[in-house]
Amino acid sequence: AQSVTQLDSQVPVFEEAPVELRCNYSSSVSVYLFWYVQYPNQGLQLLLKYLSGSTLVKGINGFEAEFNKSQTSFHLRKPSVHISDTAEYFCAVTEEAAGNKLTFGGGTRVLVKP
């Protein structure tokens, strides 16, 4: 069984400032890692994913994340946020053979202030 911990439930940030959302996971087997974003009144949208290879993955809207196996972390970063990045962000994991049976973290709400 896996678990995902998102250490910050809310992150306020000023426009054009950088943001980092923290995600730690636990699993006894190899996993794939994901970040999803949920804008108000919309469905979950995939931002980026790590399957294998380079530990730095780039996603949509200028986001990137780094997989750190020794620290079992997959933190999400953006160097300069926009008002439109205000949303809830979810980190998720799945076992390599489990398709899209995802285990999600509790979410981090990002509020971008002008």
Binding site: V4, Q6, Y32, Y36, N41, Q42, G43, L44, Q45, L46, K49, L51, F90, A92, T94, G99, N100, K101, L102, T103, F104, G105, G106, G107
Partner: protein, 113 residues
Amino acid sequence: GAGVSQTPSNKVTEKGKYVELRCDPISGHTALYWYRQSLGQGPEFLIYFQGTGAADDSGLPNDRFFAVRPEGSVSTLKIQRTERGDSAVYLCASSFLSSTEAFFGQGTRLTVV
């Protein structure tokens, strides 16, 4: 449509009633997933279909919950004898069988009063 469609978008029901929630996946997607998202929490896995069969129903909380996908496309999540604790947003997602990207619908917000 181009995306995953869920109906209704909102459902209010009385405690003890039966409800059905519908999911229309993206055309051609053989894998379909149901998740439940309670207020302030991340989505929790309920059940996963490959084609018509439930490949993994380990997330269904009890026998009041049941889901079907008779023709391998549309799926219905059925909840009997609803309880106030069933109030949540129910999310559906679909994907190609070998894909690691799932596409989510906007969800059905179920409120049991």
